[in-house]
Each structure stands twice: as structure tokens, then as C-alpha cells.
């Protein structure tokens, strides 16, 4: 079986995997990082979104082998080294941007991918960036609010 070597949440990681293994399977099973969720089998729901070299991707649609030599960040890798929450995580709590919390890791990672490219998104740009993430609980109102608030907090933190 091929060996995949990647940087996972900042740490070098390698795993021996059957070729068809999906990145999400590597994360959830081999790496034990269960914060990345699987909510569908057609790449629609976005609950499995992670950052691959800083870009938001659906890890159910990426082979683990494609992540070889690259950097993957999951929701578990967002908080600071001291455990302090990432501004987006803070904002989701402050804005009541989650109810059941199942879609939340994917929402936060999609938002993180957006803010990496565009630190000052408009509301329309946030909505557009979340087009590939489904939430059944919140009606999205507070999710969009949370991303905008998280963006502002990130900008202030960077100043």
C-alpha cells in the first residue's frame, strides 16, 4: 500500500493506505480527527471541508494520495497553541451560528478558506463562498453574520 506523507495541522504525518482512500477517510480513521464530518455521498453538503495548502476543499472528493507532500488543516488545527479559539470559532459562538453543530466544522473551514483569499468579504461574497455548504438548522442567517464578524476580528487581530 502506498504511504502518504503530509503536514497535518502543522505536524508531519504519514499513513499507509489503500489507494482509493479518500482524504476524509484518512482524517477520520487513520488520523483520528473526527471533527471533519461526512453528511452526504455526492459532495454537496460540505461538512467535510478542510484546507489543502490553504484552499478550502471537500475532503470527500480528494484522494488521500493527492494530499501527499501538502499541508492539510482541519477544524482541530484552527485554535491557537494555547487552546484559544480562532476568531471564526469565537464568532460562530457569539452569533449563535450553530445549532446541532454537525455542519459547523465545514462551515468554519470554508469561511477560513474565503478569508485567506479575501480578508474583507462583502455579505454577498460570504454567501457565495458558503454555496457548497449545507446547514439544516440555522437557516444560514447567523452563519453569514458569524463569518462577517470573524473576518472583522481577524483583521483587527492582524493590525
Amino acid at each position: 500500500m502506498p504511504v502518504v506523507t503530509l503536514t497535518l495541522n502543522g505536524r508531519p504525518t504519514s499513513a499507509d493506505l489503500p489507494e482509493p482512500t479518500l482524504l476524509v477517510e484518512l482524517l477520520r480513521s487513520a488520523a483520528g480527527l473526527t471533527g471533519t464530518h461526512v453528511g452526504c455521498d455526492t459532495s454537496q453538503c460540505g461538512a467535510c471541508t478542510v484546507l489543502l495548502d490553504g484552499r478550502a476543499v471537500k475532503s470527500c472528493t480528494v484522494l488521500a494520495l493527492q494530499a501527499d507532500g501538502r499541508a492539510v488543516t482541519t477544524v482541530e488545527g484552527l485554535a491557537g497553541a494555547d487552546g484559544s479559539l480562532h476568531p471564526l470559532q469565537e464568532a460562530f459562538i457569539a452569533c449563535h451560528g450553530l445549532q446541532c453543530g454537525f455542519c459547523t466544522p465545514g462551515m468554519i473551514m470554508s469561511a477560513a478558506g474565503l478569508l485567506a483569499d479575501n480578508p474583507r468579504p462583502t455579505e454577498a461574497e460570504v454567501v457565495d463562498a458558503l454555496e457548497g455548504n449545507l446547514c439544516r438548522c440555522t437557516g444560514y442567517v447567523n452563519i453569514v453574520k458569524a463569518v462577517l464578524q470573524g473576518a472583522e476580528a481577524l483583521r483587527e487581530g492582524a493590525r
Binding site: P18, P20, R28, S29, L33, T34, G35, T36, H37, V38, G39, C40, D41, T42, Q44, C45, A47, T74, V75, E76, L78, A79, L85, Q89, F92, I93, A94, H96, L98, Q99, C100, G101, F102, C103, T104, P105, I108, E123, V126, V127, D128, L130, E131, N133, L134, C135, R136, C137, T138, G139, Y140, V141, N142, I143, V144
Partner: protein
Amino acid sequence: MSAPLDVMRFGSGQSVRRIEDPALVRGAGRFTDDVNPPGQLFAAFVRSTVAHGRLKGVDTAAARAMPGVKAVFTGAELAAAGVKPIALAPAMKRPDGSPMTAAPRRALAHERVRCVGDAVALVVAASRAEAKAAADAVVVDLEELPAVVDVVRALEPGAPVVWEAAPDNVCAEARHGDPAAVQAAFERAAHRVRLHLVNQRLAPSPMEPRSVLAWMESGRLHMRLSSQMPTAVRGGLADCIPGLTVEQVRVQVGDVGGGFGMKTGIYPEDVAIGYAARALGAPVKWQAERLEDFLSAVHGRDVVTDAELALDAQGRVLALRTCSLAAVGASATTTGVLIQMLIGPWVTTGVYDIPLIDLHLTAVLTNVNATGAYRGAGRPEAVYITERLMDAAARQIGLDPAELRRRNMIRPAQMPYQNPMGQVYDVGAFEKIMDQGLALADWGGFEARRAASKARGRLRGRGLATFLEWTGGNALVEQVKVDVTADGFVELTSATMPMGQGIATSYAQLAVDVFGVPIERIRVLQGDTDRANGFGSAGSRSLFTGGAAVHVAAEKSVARGKELAADALEAPAADIEYRTGRFTVAGTDLGIGLFELAGRQPGGRFAVEDSATAGAPSWPNGCHVCEVEIDPATGVVEVVAYASVNDIGRIVNPVIVQGQIEGGAVQGIGQALCEELRYDADSGQLLSASFMDYALPHADVFRGFKTAFDTSIPCTTNLLGAKGVGELGTIGATPAVVNAVVDALSAAGHGAAALQLQMPLTAERVWRALQAPA
């Protein structure tokens, strides 16, 4: 004295941050599929690809020889082992007076399959991939039989018979009211309004699909799953699996990734997985694929109704008559039948003083998946019918839709009010709620907005829904255990379930009210039948039943603490006072901390258990006003304004309830505009069985909600004064949105075509209505 004030910031009535959230935003939730015991095996179901067929044989030899395969189970084996179908309660009757009936709901199909997706065999293997590969190798020998999908066709003579015990394909029939008196009212009526209305089949679609993990431990079957009703699952497993008693089953639930009613009760798959884990003596995990949830998790709605209203010359409703056919599936569930036959009818007359009803309902068996609870469960269907009729009547008579509703509303002086179904509303000020809703929506300013939309080439419409709903599931008792522990926590143990509604936070706030300790000191334990049992969370019941029990048990805990403190402090119990985490002897400096007191007790804790009983269901109600714009070139409908005023009695956490109303409303908008489960009428194939085909609302749906609450009318039949909130938004949104679309089309001269439209109001359907001659 800033400490107590600080603590009370976390009591009830405050928008406290949810205690559930820190773990969930870190990805540290504990959903069922996140739990992986050593030696865990993986299960995959083989499912029927046809809607109706005779099972001649299931050849598992090739599958058993595949790598990693531990076992393959078939329906014949399970039946031979005595595994029973999930029981259908004789809750309603068939037309001939016999008990309601439906095809057996088996863990694995035996002899017949009656729906695409019926589980036929179960493969257990060392890995998920091996289980799936082996499932593909199971050979199912089927003789395909004619299927019936459409409810009207199913009732015609000569239609294929779904289940022999019901040769007419009728599962159950109900007739509520006084048909003769209603007929007389229609004959003397000044106005009669008639509509044909379809409440289409929906997929509840919690983002976490069903997931089950079962294993044996100390001779008992342990099951961890995503469920709103662990106690019902425990009972169902013991009912179905031979040689298993309730005491030999433990059901545990961690985080639940959304329920919406879909995760109530036991599923055939739960029985199959439990059986397999016991047979193999190893942990067996099944994680439903989304396709499997579309095929075999319960669906919602699916009722076709002919509805009529008789009104006098002044617009007073004289009588309401409906004739409904509900498609409850082949292997129907008790809940799915009751929702349409009884629960919906309880609220059909809603906030109106309608003297006479004739509601005729038939639950029809067809070769489709079973229906069950989905957010609102019967009330959205009923309220949609009534609110569509009210708008149609107003248009026909030439009255403002709000004015017509006003003339028919039940007055506060009529409370308690018994509706024609015998349901008693304790309180309600419906006209007051409507007036606030109209003000919030700027009802009077609509024509100017319509003109502005027209200037931009858009057709604007306005829709109103004034309604109430029944909450509580008629399961009105709830028990809570309160433990005060030496390590500094107040533990609340409840059989109600978290599923995103923030119930743990609301309970913690109610406990803070009584104990006066910081909210970080409250721990809420749920989802373990070895610790607590009850009805679970459904029907918007948890807060007003379980929350009341939290209050009662917390007060009893403090009273118990006073007795223990009296012993510890060697003072008479009557002299002990309690405040913010400390017991003191009145008029002295003597005292002991709450948690220190727990440390002095055997086991380092003291516990009390108590229950609360609500006297009746609660009747939350609201006025929802929606405005839409239609692009006449494309037929695309856009929600552009949505205002609601809601009476949910006392509020424990304002942010949580607002999230319930708005998130719920988006589900209602989904039914109105985009969602539909559609079976092919001939083959019975489910055509919308993925999120590519089943259109859930996305982030662009609508964000401009104006949501308000009137807390001045508390419920009088429960201790908290709270009314259930979880389903209100979903119930109100669907009719408000559709009424708005009909209004926009009518104003553009397409009223006749608009009345023919059925949900979902997709761009294509609306565009076609616009092409009809004006």
C-alpha cells in the same frame, strides 16, 4: 455584592452563550460515527432496487467469500430466528372497523419487498469498503410485481395490492366532525371557496445521517446511535429481538446532528444492527449513506387535499370541509399515520372560531417509503390548508386577508376555548399577535413597495399566516435528577435529548435561577437509558416539560441541602438560608458551601429526583408575513421580506428561540419553494435521492428576518409558562410564502393559474403559470 448579579446574567431570560458550543466549534463533538471501539466491524445493507417484488431467494455465497466478510444476514434467517417486525399500534381504524394495518416493518425484508430501498440483506465486514464491496456481491432473486405509487390510483379497483390484509390499500380512515351539519352550512352559505392542495413529500434531512453502533458488554446489548428517543429504541429492540429484555439493553446517545422528527422511534436498521452485534459478539457500526437516508429514513408530509370553506355574507366562516389522502408508505409507522389522521386535524381550525368541521382523511398504502415525524408533523399540512383557504376566501369576497382573519378569530374572552376536535386552548390573544405582526411587516405600506418592485420589473406579493399549533406530544410528564457533587458541579440528568435546540443551555439557565451558581458549575447529562428514561425530545416538548422538572428538582435539591446543612452546622433546619452557592444559619456567620456540603456526604454527592407534569399541551401561535418578488422572465421567486410575531409564552433564552423560529422558517420556505421527494409514478424509483436532486435551501435563501416575541401571554398549564417553539417557524412559513406568490400572480392577472399551482413553487412552475392567458 457583584457576584450574585454576575451569576444572574446566566439565568433565564438572558441570551446566554450556549454551553454546547465550545466543543462543537472545535470539532470535538461526539457524534456516533466519531466513536470507534477496538475490533469494530462495519455493516452495509443490500437494498431493493425495485418498488414491489416477490423475494425468491437471496444468494449470499459469493459475498461470504469476499475478503474481510464476517457474516451476511438475510430476512429469511432473521424471521426464522424469531426477529419480529416493528409493531404498528392499532391507534386508528380501517373503513370496516378493523384495526389499522400496514405491511410488516421488518429489520430485513422477507418474502416481499414493497419499496425501493427496503433492506434485503446485511453484510458485516472488517472495513467499510469490504462491507460495501460484499454487499454488491449479494445476489437477490426477485420476481418484480406491479407497483402502485399514486394514492388516487391505489384506491381504484384493480390497483396492485401493497399488503394483503388491506386489499383496498387503505391503512386507516378517519372522519371528524358533523358531515350533515356541514353540508347544511354549505347550502346556506353566501360564499364557498374550494381548493385542491398538495402537501408534497419531504426529506427531513438532518445533516448527520442516521448512525448506529452496537456491541455486547456484560451480557447486555449496548447501542449508541443518533436518536431523539433512546428509551423508545431500547423498548423497540427488546420487542423485536427474541430473548432480549428491556433490562438487557442500554441505549446511549452523544451529540445528535439534527433530528427534526426523523430520529424519533426505532428503525428496521437499528434492529438489524443490534441483532448482528449480538450474533457476532463484536461491535458493529452502520453509518447511513445519504442515499440510504433518502430511501429509508422516514419522510414527511405527502397529503393531497380537497378543501372547502363556507362563509356567510360578512365573511364569517360557517364550516370547513376537507377530504385528504395521505401516502403513508407500504410499511407505515404508527406515528406517520397518527400525524395525518389526528394530530393535523387537532389544529385545522387553528386560531379561528369555526363552528363546524367535516374532515375526512384516508391513510393510503403505496409502494413508497414510510412517512413519520418531520418538523411540525401534521400541523404544517393542516395550517397550510386553512391559511390557503383564508386567503382564497378573502380574494373571492374582496376583503383584506387580515380583515377576514380578524372577523373569524377566537377572542381572549372565549378562553379556555374548545375547538371542534375537542382540543382546549388555555390562553391566546390571536388578534393582538396579528396586529403586532402587521405592524412589524408594515402591512399598510405594501402598495408602495409593490409599485417600487413593479418599476424594477418585478411582481411583488404579500402573504399572511395566522396560526397556532399543538405542542408536547401528549407526553406531559418529565423527570430530572439533580446531583450536587464535591468536585463543584450541579449535574442535571434528563431523558430529553439535545439535537441542536440548545436544551442543555436552557436547562442550565433554569438551574442557575435556583442555585445561583455560575453556569460553568452546571453539567447536563442526557442520552443514557441506564441513567434516565422518558419520551425523549419531540413535538416541541422538552423545555416546558423537562425544564419545569429541572426547576422542581432543583428547588427540592436546595431543600434537601438545607436539611443536610442543618446537620453539618448543628442548627435547626428552619434557620438555614440558601443563597448563591452557600447555606448559612440565619443571623450568624456560620455557613457551608453547596459543594463543600456535597463533599461531606457519602459518595461525595447528594441527589434528588423529581418530576413535573404539564396539565395540557401548550399552544404557541404567531402571525407570519412574507413578501416575495417574482422575476417574470424566469419565474424565480425571491423572498424579500419576512416578519413574524410569535407568542411562545415565557422565554428562557431569547437568542436560542429566535434561532429556532428563523431556522425553522427556512425549512418552511424550503417546502414552499424548492424541496420535493418525487417517486416515478410507474417504476416507484425515487428520483430525488441526493442533495443534487433534492433542493435544500442554501445560504442565499434569505437573511432579512424581522422576528419578535410577545411574552405577555404565558401558558397557564405548565409551571414555566413556556410554550413549545421548535416547530412554529416551519409551520408559519410555508403558507405565508405560498400566499405571497399567489398574491403576486393574482395581482398580475394570473390568479386562476396561481390557484392551480402546487408546491414547490419552482421557477419552472411559476413561469408556466405566468404564461397562462391572463
